[in-house]
């Protein structure tokens, strides 16, 4: 039976049109029905969500929302739970990623949305999270309260399982209604989360609408931007520019574009006894979701002069990637992706003079370059350039031209280097620095692309401290 995508509060399933799409392979086919709404249906859904959020979300303390999300996540962490079993069974089919990799990845990811992590998430952006519930004293004097958008519009992209959860949870925490469009390449997760939430706290799920349309259907996209108070968009620069063009002036559009991330390995991590472990961590970062995440490394800069040379390190890395391929095979590539990988391999070798390590079928590729080279993305799908560098301090200058495109840097270095490099890297636009091996698992409350995930979504209404005194003078008990 085909799986329904989406979550449509206030709209009966039979009143919506559905577009059927095939996923999976010959062996494991999967038919998915994607909701295909009329513009009027989308508009009335937005109005429904706005009204439900006003009634059920804005009236409860944020702690209660945290509780509801926590209980939902607890269900999804339970491998026996119906919703979780469905995710484990179907997300690998939809995305093509290795099943065990998806399952492990999902558990690690969901853990960052449990109660303690959600509270950290709140504390990260609000010195006093109660500011979301009522007017709270401000440090400068007076009082302030955070007000959220009635409807937050999300336009998601890509096939990394669970990605929509970030902005959905952020929207809920600030008490906003949420109307999100899923991507065709992974249309299921967001709707399932809403279904699970509905079983825990039905009223909250009424504040979430999950819809879909084919990319480029401008009428629905225009309606979404018109009905939302703030719009969050993910995707390529081209896609974001197209959304931006539809957002009315003055409305906040938070764009999360595609990014490039890379890794740095210092000689401290290249002792004979440490180099294997370092390579294993790097290989894990490369293999997870086949480098499709914006936090996935596309290049590794390796310091020369260690016990293990950069070239040896490239070989160690190759060995680890080969081992991972056995355990978590890469997903089957489309002909376009295979062609892009083949032409990247060719260019790395013939144009840029790299030494290529890779298996015959191209399931992983390491391209080694003896000398410093500019940052250059790989063709993804487990293809990585390893570059030898004389001094780690040279790396920031290499990447400086690409300031607006940078995100995560995974570092294997001693504390002194970590902080020295962090200054220089932040200065050229890097927004997240983490340990090698942790690149693909951002911690709870991280500042995605250097932004404030929650406080970017609210407006603060202030009571000027002088208003208090002025009011005092008008009190019936004033002298």
């Amino acid at each position: 039976m085909p799986e329904h995508a989406g979550y449509l509060p206030g709209l009966e399933r039979e009143n919506a049109k559905w577009t059927q799409k095939s996923y999976g392979t010959e062996g494991t086919p999967l038919e998915v029905l994607l909701p295909s709404l009329e513009t009027e249906q989308l508009v009335s859904m937005a109005q429904h969500i706005r009204q439900q959020a006003t009634q059920h979300l804005k009236t409860i303390p944020v702690e209660q929302i945290v509780e509801a999300i926590d209980r939902t996540i607890a269900r999804l962490l339970d491998r026996q739970d119906f919703h979780r079993r469905r995710m484990d069974a179907l997300l690998p089919t939809v995305t093509g990623y290795d099943a065990e990799m998806v399952q492990l990845g999902l558990s690690g990811y969901l853990k960052t949305f449990r109660k303690p992590q959600l509270r950290r998430f709140l504390a990260e952006d609000f010195a006093n999270p109660a500011i979301l519930d009522s007017f709270q004293p401000l440090a400068k004097g007076g009082f302030g309260r955070a007000f959220s958008p009635g409807v937050l519009g999300h336009i998601w992209a890509g096939n990394v399982p669970g990605l929509p959860l970030w902005s959905l949870v952020a929207g809920l925490l600030v008490k906003s209604g949420n109307l999100g469009k899923v991507s065709t390449s992974e249309p299921l997760f967001a709707g399932w989360f809403a279904e699970a939430l509905a079983e825990v706290e039905p009223a909250l799920a009424e504040c979430i609408g999950i819809v879909w349309w084919r990319g480029g259907e401008t009428e629905l996209e225009t309606a979404l931007t018109a009905e939302s108070d703030i719009i969050l968009g993910y995707g390529s620069n081209e896609a974001l520019a197209a959304i931006q063009a539809r957002v009315p002036t003055g409305k906040r559009f938070l764009a999360y574009g595609h990014k490039v991330s890379f890794a740095i390995v210092s000689t401290a991590a290249l002792d004979t006894d440490k180099a294997t472990a370092t390579a294993r961590l790097a290989a894990y970062d490369v293999a997870r979701y086949d480098q499709q995440g914006c936090y996935s490394p596309q290049m590794i800069c390796v310091e020369r002069g260690g016990r293990v040379s950069p070239q040896r390190f490239a070989q160690f890395l190759s060995h680890e990637l080969a081992a991972i391929e056995k355990k978590f095979p890469r997903r089957k590539l489309t002909i376009t992706e295979a062609n892009a990988l083949a032409s990247w391999r060719h260019d790395e070798e013939m144009k840029f003079g790299g030494e290529i390590f890779g298996d015959e079928t191209g399931s992983w590729t390491v391209s080694f370059h003896m000398a410093e080279s500019n940052l250059m993305p790989s063709s993804l799908n487990r293809a990585i350039r390893v570059v030898g560098v004389e001094r780690l301090a040279d790396v920031p200058a290499m990447i400086a031209p690409f300031k607006s495109l940078l995100q995560t840097v995974g570092i294997a270095a001693a504390p002194e280097h970590l902080f020295q490099l962090a200054d220089a890297l932040g200065n050229v636009g890097v927004t997240r620095i983490c340990a090698l091996g942790d690149m693909t698992t951002p911690e709870a409350g991280w500042h995605h692309d250097g932004r404030f995930n929650l406080s970017d979504l609210v407006t603060i209404t202030e009571i000027d401290h002088r208003a208090e005194f002025a009011a005092d003078r008008l009190a019936p008990y004033a002298e």
Binding site: C294, A338, A340, G362
Partner: protein, 360 residues
């Protein structure tokens, strides 16, 4: 073997109507060896793939040179300064870097073109009146298509034939007058040109409300796709519009598939049904490959096209295209470009990076 010897062998092969598998195999090996011995960058490339004249047992073992390599390597067996012609790609991708196909002589290219054109387009006729919707070789000296179309006119066109593009503009008035004359004259007429120019003509004629009923035996040949120079039509709409506007049945609307990086063209037998099946003469063969392993995919599956063109003897006998296709009994179905891969997730893909970094 020197340039004259290999040229002579190729000319003889091309003029021979019946060439069997063995003959192709023998000459393919000779051309590969010729390139291996006379072109340093090619030999280096072949060695990096573990292919030398000793290890190559069949034409299918010849390593396929990616078309990108025509941008970065000097693929020529003659001194580049002494090339009789250098045909260049349009350079619309990769920051305007143009791929170059060097020709030490055009004798083989021209023989290949003429022999094949006569059989597939002329259909037994000696001459036809032709209209060309593409600039002349004088205007575009590095365009293989300009050379090809000019060759068609000079070899097979009647005296009345001519080009309808001058100073980058289509002379609509002269074109319409000519087509009206052809209607009345009653002899078959051939309109040949870039697909996007034909779209411009269709749009203009539609605006004017003009349509023609060209005499029986007439044909329209398009090539090259739209390249962002006109609106994009799906094949059925395009061929329906051609058929309606010129009064030529879809079975006489032929598509030529050629590449700057080759010296031989493929044709279909009209586009009554789309997608059509493309095929070439006995001196070119196509494999549908897995681009990562280079091996052929099972018949019926989608892969990347690799062409082994013996006439391409001065540059690279086998090239790996960026076109996807499917092998059939009679040839192959061309599915289109398989490039510009977008990331599936939120990671930045190479193409986007180059675009953004280039603009930064």
């Amino acid at each position: 073997m020197d340039c004259d010897e290999i040229t002579a062998e190729l000319l003889s092969f091309i003029s021979n109507a019946e060439n069997d598998d063995d003959a192709f195999e023998v000459l393919a090996h000779k051309v590969f060896q010729y390139q291996f011995e006379n072109n340093g960058p090619f030999a280096k490339f072949a060695r990096s793939r573990g292919r030398t004249p000793r290890t190559v047992k069949s034409w299918a073992d010849i390593p396929a040179v990616p078309i990108n390599a025509f941008k970065t390597m000097d693929l020529t067996c003659c001194n580049p300064d002494q090339a009789a012609a250098i045909f260049m790609t349009s350079g619309t991708t990769q920051g305007g870097v143009r791929g170059k196909n060097y020709h030490s002589t055009l004798r083989v290219y021209d023989a290949s073109m003429k022999m094949n054109f006569q059989r597939r387009i002329m259909n037994g006729q000696k001459q036809m009146e032709m209209g060309i919707l593409f600039p002349t070789p004088d205007a575009m000296p590095n365009s293989s298509l300009a050379h090809y179309l000019n060759l068609a006119v000079t070899e097979f066109g009647t005296r009345e034939s001519g080009h309808f593009i001058e100073d980058e503009a289509i002379d609509f008035k002269r074109l319409i007058d000519t087509l009206r004359d052809a209607e009345g004259f009653g002899q078959p007429y051939a309109l040949l040109g870039a697909s996007f120019s034909l779209v411009h003509v269709l749009d203009e004629l539609h605006k004017l409300g003009a349509a023609f009923k060209l005499p029986e035996g007439s044909l329209v040949m398009d090539t090259g796709g739209y390249k962002g120079q006109s609106r994009e039509l799906n094949p059925d709409d395009f061929y329906n519009a051609l058929a309606q506007t010129f009064g030529v049945p879809r079975s006489r609307c032929v598509n030529m598939y050629g590449m700057t990086e080759l010296s031989t063209q493929f044709y279909d037998d009209g586009n009554e049904q789309c997608p059509s099946i493309k095929s070439g003469p006995s001196w070119i063969r196509t494999r549908v490959t897995d681009p990562l392993t280079g091996s052929s995919v099972p018949k019926g599956e989608v892969g990347i096209l690799a062409h082994t063109d013996l006439a391409n003897f001065n540059s690279a006998v086998t090239i790996l295209t960026e076109d996807s296709g499917i092998e059939t009994d009679e040839g192959f179905i061309l599915l289109g470009r398989a490039s510009g891969s977008e990331a599936q997730g939120c990671s930045m893909a190479v193409d986007e990076f180059l675009k953004v970094a280039g603009a930064a």
